[in-house]
Amino acid sequence: MKPRVVPFGEGALLVELADEFQENVVGWARAIADNWETVLAFGPAVPAYTTALLRFDPLRLAPTEAERAAAELLARGEFITRAGNGPPRVIQVPTTYDGPDLAETAEGSQLSVDQLVALHAGREYTAYFLGFLPGFAYCGRLDPRIVAPRLARPRERVPAGSVAVADGQTAVYPLTSPGGWRLIGRTDLAMFDAGAAEPVRIRAGDRLRFVPR
């Protein structure tokens, strides 16, 4: 698809960059969101894999003006300067690999449990964006040898701290919630603390490493 800007109600725009996940597009979407939120300061922005949602107050900024500004950000291309999010950090996630889906996921991937753990803990992941729950970071990519389709029936209750995989991605559930990812382990590292100066542990763009214990 050709990148485009479309209205999302009267107070937001959706910048669509691609149909499919591409490593370079994720950074591009985030850079557009950063510029909107931090440099232009028009309102909050929500980057995702291939899109950036750009919010604004339509009584202060005419939607046509907002569209023009978004189109200009888009026209600057994928080498648009990052702003505001700070340098990426490497976050170590101490992980006990004893999740309820560990054995089945290993079997489905034709791996032993030890092999699956070694693959999962053996690489550094990028936190692509946050969504779903406060502090839930979509991280990837998984080693393609780990085959982890989402559960056909999502669980009603996934405990906070669960380390999970699904469709090439990995994440830590920050809160106890329903969820359809496969649970392979757990961590005590808190992912969300509303009382902290920075409420989320992981920012988009950070690097993540799971450390077996």
């Binding site: 209205p7 999302f8 009267e10 964006f129 969300f192």
Partner: protein
């Protein structure tokens, strides 16, 4: 201070929402019927960002330690002191005077505003309660909440705002994903009459009725706004409300305009809902008209 002696079924402190941490996955929360809370705030002379109480299931009963202007809004709501007063108007209440918020069988959310606003500490820039993440807690009988300073007197009472007509009609703009659906899907969506599903909550209003075929192929999750009409695989649309997740993976066929969010949120299970297509200019006109109406009431104090 407000002292709550009966708390209804589930009542929470809400403001217009928490928009500063969307990219960290923190949902906006805030009033499910934003216009109703905004109207209640305007009626008691509060700023637009003041916090009030969203009440599900009445009666809700309280006293205040000092005299306050009080207003209740929502669908089929009223207020009782010694006499019973219709909603959508401001009332002067003396220190210690018992006030009861009443609602009807069709009331989903009632909003209570007090002059000065609820002054609980803001968390992440907002006083909005978001229960799934433990931001705030349901209010209980015996709770006391601080109120902000206000100097409104009896002469400021009696102001009125025209109540929202909760008639099962909501205006919506097409998109952003309307062109991914099969031809005719958007027209069918705007022609259909939906029925509210019992599983509706502050996260979204779930609709039953003729299903819409969802587009082939996977959609990458994207940031979403309240009012987004998502169409999951089964074809039964969900209109996202205040507690919506910040990102969603279902295609969005249309987006309910901001001033009509309450007309969706306040529908009860089993009631009907229809969508009327508007363009962005009409949505902006509606927003300006709402702002004028609220400011008009506020300034006349």
């Amino acid at each position: 201070m407000i002292r709550i002696s009966e708390s209804g079924v589930r009542s929470t402190v809400q403001d217009r929402g928490r928009f500063g941490h969307l990219r960290s996955g923190v949902p906006p929360a805030g009033a499910a019927d934003p216009h109703a809370l905004a109207a209640a705030n305007a009626l008691v002379g509060n700023r637009a960002d003041a916090a009030g109480i969203e009440i599900i299931g009445t009666p809700f009963r309280f006293t205040c330690d000092d005299s306050r202007l009080v207003a209740v809004t929502g669908r089929d709501v009223s207020l009782a002191t010694r006499t019973r007063l219709d909603g959508w108007g401001s009332v002067f209440v003396r220190a210690g005077q018992m006030v009861t918020v009443h609602s009807g069988e069709r009331t989903r959310f009632a909003y209570l505003a007090l002059s000065g606003g609820i002054a609980t500490p803001a968390v992440l820039g907002s006083r909005a309660t978001y229960l799934p993440a433990g931001l705030g807690a349901p209010l209980r009988a015996g709770d006391t909440l601080p109120l902000g300073e206000a100097d409104a007197g009896p002469e400021d009472a009696g102001r009125l705002i025209a109540p929202t007509t909760y008639d099962g009609r909501a205006r919506a703009m097409a998109g952003p994903h309307d062109d991914r659906f099969e031809a005719g899907a958007l027209e069918r969506f705007f022609a259909a009459t939906y029925v509210i599903d019992a599983a509706s909550d502050r996260q979204g209003t779930r609709l039953g009725g003729a299903p819409i075929a969802s587009p082939a192929g996977e959609l990458q999750s994207c940031g979403v706004v309240a009012g987004a009409v998502q169409v999951p695989r089964g074809g039964a649309p969900i209109v996202l409300l205040a507690d919506h997740q910040t990102t969603g993976g279902y295609p969005v066929i249309a987006t309910v305009i901001a001033v009509d969010l309450g007309k969706v949120a306040q529908r009860m299970p089993g009631e009907s809902l229809r969508f009327y297509r508007v363009e962005r200019d009409e949505a902006l006109d509606a927003l300006r008209a709402e702002r004028r109406a609220l400011d008009g009431v506020r300034i006349s104090a």
